[in-house]
Amino acid sequence: MEIPYTSEIRPDTGLTNPKLGIWLFLASEVMLFGSLFSSYVLLRTGAPTWPVQHEVLSVPLAALNTVVLIASSVTMVLAWAALAPHAAAVRAGDRQAAEAALKRYRLYMGLTLLGGAIFLVVKTIEYGDKFSHALYPATNNFLALYFTMTGLHALHVIAGMIVNGYLWGPGARMWHSEPQRFANRIEVAGIYWHFVDVVWIFLFPVLYLL
């Protein structure tokens, strides 16, 4: 079955269906992460003592990851900006414009994937360092929250990389057949990726700095 309104705006909502869909999905994601943030607030405010977070975790590594993830958000939006303005020309049959745009898109999307990969490598180093010091989720409430929240976030990074990887590789064929629909896909995948960035923007001060 064909999904309607993937390229054109649906008149009653003023949006394409995927755009509305991703925002409704992200609304549910806000509540998913919200439940964990509120658990953190409850457990920390109710605790008689709490570890000094920046002595347990590595602020420099987390700061590096913050910069990496923000940079990958920038390259993601640049990947979309490489395609979107040329969709009409590609639809009209301009092969040269199509190839030039696709090349720039692949560069930026590749950098976005690289950012995600660096983030996960740094996260793995952090986890390994905790484990080597016998710091596990069962050690205390703070570490339980740290591993749960950053672990769920890392799963979101992996999910985003799978989608972005598909759109970088085989999924990019759609640029030639349905350019507007493909540009919309990149925008929607980008909105998800930026959300993952936003979650980290809150995790960084809450778990490392405060």
């Binding site: 003023g14 303005p85 959300f195």
Partner: protein, 106 residues
């Protein structure tokens, strides 16, 4: 058209710069060892600013249709209720006051 895109890309890079500055600011503020409430207000405040920049510009929320704002507005109310409910349940000892002190008239 080409000019519009160039301006848009410049805008994204300006937002990038602002996000990096705010990241440095939040790390810098953590070294000041502000008293509890101020530290939380600074940390969460800067995070909210960064999140707003990402949402407005990268996620194109600026100038988006009302159909997006409504569910997000509802989500914001539910999220704040969730956090507020938790804070109120622990409010008897936060900020060094007892919760019922706030309601005592003398």
């Amino acid at each position: 058209m080409a000019h519009d895109i160039a301006a848009q890309v410049r805008g994204y890079l300006v937002v990038f710069g602002a996000l990096l500055v705010l990241t440095l600011a939040t790390i810098g503020a953590s070294y000041l060892h502000l008293p509890g409430t101020f530290a939380v207000a600074t940390g969460v405040g800067i995070a909210l600013m960064k999140a707003a920049l990402v949402a407005m510009y990268f996620m194109h929320l600026k100038g988006e249709r009302p159909m997006v704002y409504w569910p997000l507005g509802l989500t914001a109310v539910l999220f704040i209720s969730l956090i507020a409910g938790v804070l109120m349940s622990e409010g008897d000892h936060l900020l060094g006051t007892r919760w019922d002190d706030a309601f005592t008239t003398e």
